[in-house]
């Protein structure tokens, strides 16, 4: 029971102190793996944004199916103008696919930098450039154990954020 009190206390504190808001987001763009689409939810507290969502890569150079991967993003926003924020952050995605007998796992951590513009009380658009590495781990191939492949990756995407709960943008 006391955990409930602690949880309610924390939520109240957060609400009073920082007035968190909840948004939905969608991005589309491309990187060296192929065309990508992101969907998910965002928790915003003051200048901090935490995003949890799914990423889909169009099957092409790397993926054979469009099974989604998990994506976690942290962003910090700096106000530049009245309607414009500069954003920087960290993003990591995880994917898994079976290619025949090979278990293929891909992790792509990125550093993000971009701009975000408010176009209405509840909608923002953003353009983001991200740089990072793509790390691939495979098992079950012709060699025993895990094999690793790394390469530099870059990413460009545009996105839309819609405010679901919280104060106007």
């Amino acid at each position: 029971m006391k955990y409930w009190f602690v949880l309610v206390f924390c939520c109240t504190l957060l609400h009073v102190a920082a007035q968190p808001s909840i948004d939905a987001y969608a991005n589309t763009g491309f990187n060296r793996i192929g065309f990508l689409h992101d969907f998910g939810g965002q928790l915003e507290i003051k200048s901090h944004q935490i995003r949890l969502g799914l990423r889909f890569y169009a099957p092409d150079q790397v993926f054979e199916s469009n099974r989604p991967g998990l994506q976690l993003t942290y962003r910090f926003q700096y106000p530049v103008f009245k309607r414009c924020n500069l954003i920087s952050g960290l993003q990591i995605s995880y994917f898994q696919e079976y290619k025949g007998e090979i278990r293929f796992r891909l992790i792509d951590p990125h550093l993000e930098l971009g701009g975000q513009w408010r176009i209405s009380k509840s909608i923002q658009i953003a353009t983001v450039l991200a740089l990072g590495s793509t790390q691939i781990y495979t098992n079950g191939g012709i060699l025993p154990g895990t094999e690793q492949f790394n390469y530099f990756n870059y990413e460009f995407k545009i996105g839309l954020t819609y405010r679901l709960i919280g104060a106007d943008l």
Partner: protein, 271 residues
């Protein structure tokens, strides 16, 4: 009878029955080779073409059945992996592979900091692990404007493969546009593949001169060619496949093998 309730049920049953009766089209699965490892196209490559990383990525990450690599004979009769006619297009030295010694080539920086692979290493990465390999032989020296020495090539190839069993050597395909080079090959386990645009000439080589299969570019392949090859029961490989449209186009000819610059999309197409 309640039409409002029954109609959707009848429609649903009809749709389900249509799915159930869908005619199963037999799918012909070709052997899928990665072009120059994973791809020769720089805009698609994550690793340099014909490099060890590119070969391992194709075989162990993208699960290709094999790889195609470009083989050239050095001045002192070593076999190295390089695609272009001139060295200065992808290395920091000038000239042709055929006019340069192996020790000179070892000092060349390939794509910045790599060294050129040799055939022995490629065979360790492929047939030694049960994967297939196509050796695309470049038979012409653009610096001297002469053909390479086919006997020297045959001798060096025999040296490179002598440690392998005949079963492993059967995973090697030697592809060349010069019929004379294929004719000079002594090892009977190796698969001989003739590349050319003249289909009648290719069929003649297969029927009368011991060539095992033909290599034809996707851009010149036609239905007429496919019918002739199927009639004569000649195996054929389609090369130069990059886009999804080209993958579909090549698949419509039911090839026995394909050499692709997009392994994942090609595998997806045949799934």
């Amino acid at each position: 009878m309640n039409l409002k309730l029954d109609l959707p049920i009848v429609l649903l049953a009809l749709i389900c029955s249509c799915w159930g009766c869908e005619k199963e089209v037999p799918v012909h699965f070709p052997v899928i080779y990665g072009h120059a490892g994973t791809t020769l196209a720089d805009e698609r490559a994550v690793y340099p073409p014909n490099s060890e990383a590119s070969i391992l990525y194709a075989l162990n990450a993208l699960n290709a059945d094999g790889v195609e690599v470009d083989v050239q004979l050095t001045l002192d009769s070593f076999l190295v992996i390089y695609h272009d006619p001139y060295l200065d297009s992808r290395t920091n030295i000038t000239g042709c592979v055929n006019s340069t010694t192996y020790s000179e080539l070892l000092t060349a920086k390939y794509y910045g900091d790599l060294t050129l692979l040799n055939l022995t290493r490629v065979l360790e990465l492929t047939i030694n692990r049960g994967k297939k390999v196509v050796l695309d032989i470049k038979p012409y020296n653009f610096c001297t404007e002469q053909s390479i020495d086919f006997e020297q090539f045959n001798w060096r190839l025999n040296n490179a493969i002598q440690a392998y069993s005949s079963e492993q050597r059967g995973l090697i395909t030697v592809n060349c546009r010069k019929f004379e080079l294929l004719f000079a090959l002594e090892d009977s386990s190796i698969i001989r593949c003739f590349e050319g645009e003249n289909i009648e000439q290719g069929i003649n080589y297969c029927e009368n001169f011991g060539i095992d299969k033909l290599m034809i570019k996707s851009s010149i392949f036609t239905n007429e060619m496919m019918q002739k090859l199927k009639q004569k029961n000649i195996r054929y490989c389609i090369s130069d496949i990059k886009t999804k449209q080209e993958i579909s186009w090549a698949a419509s000819f039911s090839p026995d093998e394909v050499i692709t610059d997009n392994i994942a999309a090609t595998r997806k197409h045949y799934k």
